[in-house]
Structures are given as structure tokens and as C-alpha cells.
């Protein structure tokens, strides 16, 4: 696994020959695009490519919300915390999600099934409060409906 990831990273890094520290964010974006997240192996390897310490690469990556450090779950849940959704009670929904999925934002459940991400606005304010699972948007969510959507995902896995 580790070896193959290092190998997979090589062509991406080759797109940035003789790169300096200003290439860090584009490289992080390309690696996340390809791998779905930034692993420890990737961060250490990118650091070596740019001659930057791993602490610095990790520090820069954690500054931005767009980077994640765990692989996405099979069902990637995004909950909107934008203004409209906030007014419609998305705090409560986030709390329900955290408890039902047993993960915090940015984390992935141990079985690899669910990952949770908080986004600032989905651009679906008319559907507030909104949530999405693997890109499919769910409108006017309630705690009950969240539990139903999660249960459906679980049922699909059992079948």
C-alpha cells in the first residue's frame, strides 16, 4: 500500500520539476485530486520534493479547509453550515450526524463507510437546511430524515 502510493505520487511530482515552496498548494491539490486525501506518506514525500519539513507541509495543508487527511468513506456526507442553513437549524443536524455516524467533521468511520465534512455553503439556500451524500443533495433535512438516509445507506451495505 505504502509503496504503491509512493509510486503513484511520482508522475504527479514529475509535473512540478525544480519546484520551490510556492508550488506547495498546487501540488497538495493535485495529490488530493488523485488520492482523495493527503496521507502521511504523501505529505512526507511532497516535503522531500520541495525540501520542506513535514511539519510545514502539514501546517500549510491544515490552514485550508479543502484538504483532508483521511480517505473519504464510501458515503461522503457533506452538511451545509451556511447562513440560510444555520437559520434553519443546521447546528442540530450536524450534532445528529456526528452522533449517528460516530465521526467528527473531517473524520472517516472505522469501517470506512462514512466520512463527514462541514461546508460553508452548498449554494442550495432555497433547500435549507441542506446536506449531500456523494454529491446527491438532500433538501429540507430534519433529524428524522437524516437518520432515515443513514439507515438506507447501511441497509444497502448489508444487502
Amino acid at each position: 500500500m505504502t509503496m504503491s502510493e509512493e509510486v503513484r505520487l511520482e508522475p504527479i511530482l514529475a509535473e512540478f520539476p525544480d519546484a520551490a515552496r510556492d508550488a506547495l498548494i498546487p501540488i497538495l491539490q493535485r495529490v488530493q485530486e488523485a488520492e482523495g486525501y493527503l496521507s502521511e506518506v504523501a505529505i512526507a514525500r511532497i516535503g522531500r520534493h520541495l525540501n520542506l519539513p513535514a511539519s510545514k507541509v502539514f501546517g500549510v495543508a491544515t490552514f485550508y479547509n479543502q484538504f483532508r487527511f483521511l480517505p473519504k468513506g464510501k458515503y461522503h456526507v457533506m452538511i451545509c453550515r451556511g447562513t440560510a442553513c444555520h437559520v434553519k437549524g443546521s447546528v442540530k443536524l450536524l450534532d445528529v450526524l456526528t452522533r449517528t455516524l460516530k465521526v467528527r467533521p473531517g473524520q472517516t468511520s472505522r469501517d470506512g463507510l462514512f466520512s463527514l465534512e462541514v461546508v460553508a455553503c452548498m449554494g442550495a439556500c432555497g433547500l435549507a437546511p441542506a446536506m449531500s451524500v456523494n454529491g446527491e443533495v438532500y433538501a429540507k433535512m430534519t433529524p428524522k430524515r437524516i437518520e432515515k438516509v443513514v439507515a438506507e445507506c447501511r441497509a444497502k451495505e448489508q444487502a
Partner: protein, 573 residues
């Protein structure tokens, strides 16, 4: 030349000088938190803001260059009130547990709060809470006490080029941490403790062993012995309010005895022993075509640095243990045997100017039959704490001498505490070993002083020796890169992890300024000059130890007890 007015006094200033530099020269103390002498300013904390006539707002003194005709008020009502607000805001997200904090009485934030008449918690709101990082063998991180000044990050990255820590996350979630926010133990941290010295609060500290040592002293089944490093006796006095550079060697020995240590040994004795082994090892490498340049191995932060960042240089490292570990090994072998003691019932304590020594003692190679050679390492600061706990007025004690058989030391062993000292001691002895005669002038001036990099070319017998001395790991990195690139042909390199050597170690008293550092260094060299015994090979106690126990330098017993090996470190770099 520019003319600047500071608090109505006209001061001449050079272009490029900051408001802070000019004001300090004029005698006005502007407080700082994030400012680090010698490094580029960041202006992160804003505590140094001053009022400047016709400026739009208050200006940060640490980063703002003076201009001709500038009129500065360093302590105007507006500036002082702004500083007070900054401290109050910092305190709004800071624990109120000063009573239990290791930095109480020594904390820049606490001092500022007092100076600025902050008498209550003004702002209340959400407080961040973070777990302690107690994973490191030497250092403890408490991000809850961190004010995000970034000094530790800059020292670690810019001076030591280790960069084990950096700012993580953003805004109210910003925190200083290691890569992947894991413990220090899996990071590239070399335990040098320069971050602890830089930290204005209690967010970084050494892992304290004061209670452990007190318990050992109270245990009648244990024989507790102590050794103290060369750089401790010239700094300990500062912890008790005396001037930097005052030597408390004899008083410290007396105090340690009063506390109940069965024997007080001098690590400088082991430094002499180190020189015998190291000089022999160098001569052997030169004669047999061994790996050169040989790198000194006394400084455990440096050792871990090589293991982590330059594993290809591991064969260059001298296999000699550090003086602390040599002393530890002979205490629990030769001395235990002589006194009919089971090594398991000996508690061996060492007082060091260093935090990395705590890590060094915990290395698996530094134990025999699962009994560690050194049980507890106390920093100079912890030793002072121990003396205070015991209620001893150290400055008023009559000086006493260290115990035999490991109490006699040469001036050469004593100057181990300053950058260049190990090399000077080694050259004195190497000259004797190779030519059979003493150097006509024992003081080797090119090796002295606080410069980060020094070089020496000397003729010893038939041999033209090139040596280099560096302190601060950034300087060490530059030198290793030059050696790797083939730009430097050297026989011997002395490296000390901390800038200036052990006198500026991570375990030394807080608030060390360049003047204090110079005073400590002068103290070491004046002790050496006043000593009748000034070379390691003339130390009769060392000679006796070889005759009665060790055999000869690099011999079988020495190899077993006094030498070690190193390993590449698998950590995130």
C-alpha cells in the same frame, strides 16, 4: 545617520534600525513577546506597539524601521493601554493556574500582566483546550498555555533547522504542533530545549524529575549519587539572583551533600576520560584510514540530528559515549564493584545544562542488563528547584571538593561547557599522545568565542590537522553539506547543539542574554587558566581508572563501557 526623537530625547540611528533597537539603546524598555534577537521580526504579538507622531495608528517597534525626524513615545497613555488590552486578550484564552505552572515567577506573560496592572480577568469567552503532549522523553508541550508568538517555531526552524513544530490549522483553531499533530516522540525533535528557553510562557518545559530525585533521596535502600556537568557551576548562581559568570562549583558540591547525595562526582572528570578515548579514536582513524572527518558525540541533540537528517554521517560519529554516560557507566560498574553495591540499588543522578540528556539517558544502548547507567537527569533549573525545596542557602555555603575517585578534573574537562572547549581539550591531549610533549601554549584562541563556526589548522607532530567547531544545528547542517559537497577537507569536527555550547543549553536559566552568555564563557576559561592541572592526560584519577580497571583507551573494557553505536531514525522529517 538619522535623528530620531524617543520620549523627547534625540538619538542618532542608522538607517534600517528598528524603533525597538533605537529605543533600547536610549534606555527605554519596550516589552516584547514574539521578538527574537538576531532573527527577522514577525510583528505577531503587537505588545511592542508605540505611538509615533503623525502615524496613522500605533506602530510595532520590533519590525518598524526608524525614519529621520520620527518622534516616538514608547510609553504614551495610548500605547500602554493598547498593550494592556493585548495582555488582557491573551489572558482571556489562558489558564488561570499560575500557582501550578513551572514558569510562575519566570513567565513573560505573568510579568507583563503585573507590569501593566492587569488585576482581573476582563474578557470571558470560549477557551481552547488541548491535551498535554507528554510523549517526549525530555520535553513537555502544553498548547493550552501557548500564546502563539511563534518563537519556538522560528528557533526550531531557523536556528536549529530541525523544524519539528509549526503552526497548524487557522484562526481560533490555530495551534503549534508537530507533523500530523502527533507527539514529539515520533517527530524529528532532537530535544535540544532551545524552544523551552525561547518560550515566554509555560507552554514548553522540560519533563521534570525533581520529585523522582527527592523520593530516591528519601529511600534508605538506595545509594543516591550525583554528577554535575562543566557548564552548570557557572550558571546555577543566576537562579539564586547572583551575577552571570559566578562559579558555584564548591558551594554546589556542599549543597548536594547536605541534601543527602552519598557521593558528588564531577562530570568534567568524565570529560577528561572522553578526551582520552576520543583522541585515541581520532589517532586510530587517522593511522588506519578510518572514516574522516570524525564528529564529536558529546551532545545528544546533535547525535539525534545526525541519526535523523544525516544518517550517511553515522560512521563519522565518534563511538565515544558522552561524558554523562561514561560517568554513568563507570559508577554502575567500577564504583559499584569497589563499594560492594548492587547497581540496581544505586540511583545515579546527573545535573546537566541540557534537556536532550534526558533523552540520551533513556536510549536503550545506555543500559546494562536493563539497569540504566543514569537514572535521572536534572537541568540546571531543576537542580536550583531541588536546592530551594531543601531550603539551602547555597550562596552562603562553604565550598567543598567533589568526591574521589571521580572528582578530580582538569581545566580541559571544564571547558567542555563552551563551544570549542572539546576541541581545545582534544588538541592539548592529541599533541601529547602524538609528540610526547606538551603544547607550549595551552590556550588555543581560534577555538574560543561565541561565533557559530570556527576553524583551526595545526601541526601536531608530522600531521597537519584541520579541525572545525560549530554550534547551533543550522551551522552544523551548513558544515555537513560543505563536507558532503567536497568543499571541506577536515579531520575532526566538534559540534554542540546549542548556539555557544552548553553554557547556552536548553536546561539553563531563563532569560539568558548575550552578556550573560559571555560571562559564563569567560568564567569557564578563567577556571581553566587558574587550574594547575590543565590537560586530560595528566589527570591522575583518570590514569588510575585505566590502571586499575579499564586497561587502556579503546581497550576491551573501554569498548564495552565507554563506547556506543547509533541508528537511523524513522521519524517524520
Amino acid at each position: 545617520m538619522l535623528n530620531v526623537e524617543v520620549n523627547d530625547r534625540t538619538i542618532a540611528a542608522k538607517p534600517g534600525e528598528t524603533i525597538l533597537e533605537v529605543s533600547r539603546r536610549a534606555g527605554f524598555q519596550i516589552p516584547t513577546l514574539c521578538h527574537l534577537e538576531g532573527l527577522s521580526p514577525t510583528g505577531a504579538c503587537r505588545i511592542c506597539v508605540v505611538e509615533v507622531e503623525n502615524a496613522a495608528g500605533l506602530l510595532p517597534a520590533c519590525s518598524y524601521p526608524v525614519q529621520d525626524g520620527m518622534k516616538i513615545k514608547t510609553h504614551s497613555a495610548k500605547a500602554v493601554e493598547a498593550r494592556r488590552t493585548i495582555v488582557q486578550l491573551l489572558l482571556s484564552n489562558h489558564p488561570d493556574d499560575c500557582l501550578y505552572c513551572s514558569r510562575s515567577g519566570n513567565c513573560d506573560l505573568q510579568q507583563l500582566a503585573r507590569d501593566l496592572n492587569v488585576d482581573r480577568r476582563l474578557y470571558r469567552g470560549a477557551r481552547s483546550s488541548y491535551p498535554l503532549d507528554v510523549s517526549g522523553a525530555a520535553l513537555v508541550r502544553d498548547p493550552g498555555k501557548c500564546i502563539l508568538c511563534g518563537k519556538c517555531v522560528r528557533v526550531c526552524e531557523e536556528i536549529q533547522t530541525v523544524a519539528a513544530i509549526d503552526f497548524l490549522h487557522r484562526g481560533s483553531k490555530a495551534v503549534i504542533g508537530t507533523a500530523f499533530d502527533r507527539g514529539l516522540n515520533t517527530s524529528s525533535c532532537v530535544n535540544c530545549g532551545q524552544c523551552v528557553i525561547a518560550c515566554p510562557t509555560g507552554a514548553l518545559s522540560e519533563r521534570s524529575n525533581v520529585q523522582d530525585v527527592l523520593s530516591a533521596l528519601a529511600d534508605p535502600t538506595k545509594t543516591v549519587v550525583v554528577q554535575h556537568a562543566p557548564a552548570v557551576s557557572v550558571t546555577l548562581a543566576e537562579e539564586f539572583g547572583a551575577k552571570p559568570g559566578r562559579d558555584l562549583d564548591g558551594e554546589m558540591v556542599a549543597a548536594l551533600r547536605l541534601m543527602g547525595f552519598a557521593r558528588v562526582f564531577d562530570t568534567s572528570f568524565a570529560a577528561d576520560l572522553t578526551i582520552m578515548e576520543e583522541a585515541s579514536e581520532l589517532a586510530h582513524r587517522v593511522a588506519t584510514g578510518g572514516t574522516l572527518p570524525m564528529l564529536t558525540s558529546c551532545s545528544p541533540g546533535w547525535i539525534k540530528f545526525v541519526e535523523t537528517f544525516y544518517p550517511e554521517f553515522i560512521p563519522n560519529l565518534s563511538t565515544c559515549k558522552s561524558p554523562q554516560q561514561m560517568m554513568g557507566a563507570v559508577i554502575k560498574s567500577f564504583w559499584a564493584e569497589r563499594n560492594g553495591l548492587d547497581p540496581r540499588n544505586i540511583v545515579s543522578v546527573s545535573i546537566m545544562p541540557c534537556t536532550a540528556k534526558k533523552f540520551e539517558r533513556s536510549r536503550a544502548e545506555m543500559a546494562h542488563d536493563f539497569v540504566p547507567d543514569v537514572d535521572y537527569v536534572l537541568t540546571t533549573r531543576e537542580a536550583a528547584q531541588l536546592i530551594r525545596t531543601a531550603g539551602i542557602d547555597i550562596l552562603g555555603l562553604q565550598p567543598e571538593s567533589a568526591d574521589t575517585p571521580f572528582g578530580e578534573r582538569s581545566g580541559a574537562g571544564k571547558i567542555f561547557g563552551a563551544s570549542g572547549g572539546v576541541m581545545e581539550a582534544a588538541v592539548r591531549t592529541a599533541n601529547f599522545l602524538l609528540t610526547g610533549s606538551e603544547l607550549s601554549e595551552l590556550d588555543i584562541q581560534p577555538l574560543r568565542g561565541l561565533h557559530g563556526a570556527k576553524e583551526l589548522r595545526a601541526r601536531i607532530g608530522d600531521l597537519e590537522v584541520s579541525a572545525a567547531v560549530v554550534s547551533g544545528l543550522g551551522n552544523a547542517r551548513a558544515l555537513l553539506d560543505a563536507v558532503k559537497a567536497g568543499q571541506k577537507q577536515l579531520h575532526f569536527i566538534e559540534v554542540m547543539t546549542c548556539p555557544g555550547g552548553c553554557i547556552n543549553g536548553g536546561g539553563q536559566p531563563f532569560h539568558t542574554d548575550p552578556m550573560a552568555l559571555k560571562a559564563r564563557m569567560r568564567a569557564l576559561y578563567s577556571i581553566d587558566r587558574s587550574e594547575s592541572l590543565r590537560t586530560s592526560h595528566a589527570n591522575l584519577s583518570v590514569k588510575r581508572l585505566y590502571d586499575e580497571f579499564l586497561g587502556r583507551p579503546l581497550g576491551e573494557r573501554s569498548h564495552h563501557l565507554l563506547h556506543t553505536h547509533y541508528q537511523q531514525r524513522d521519524v517524520l522529517i
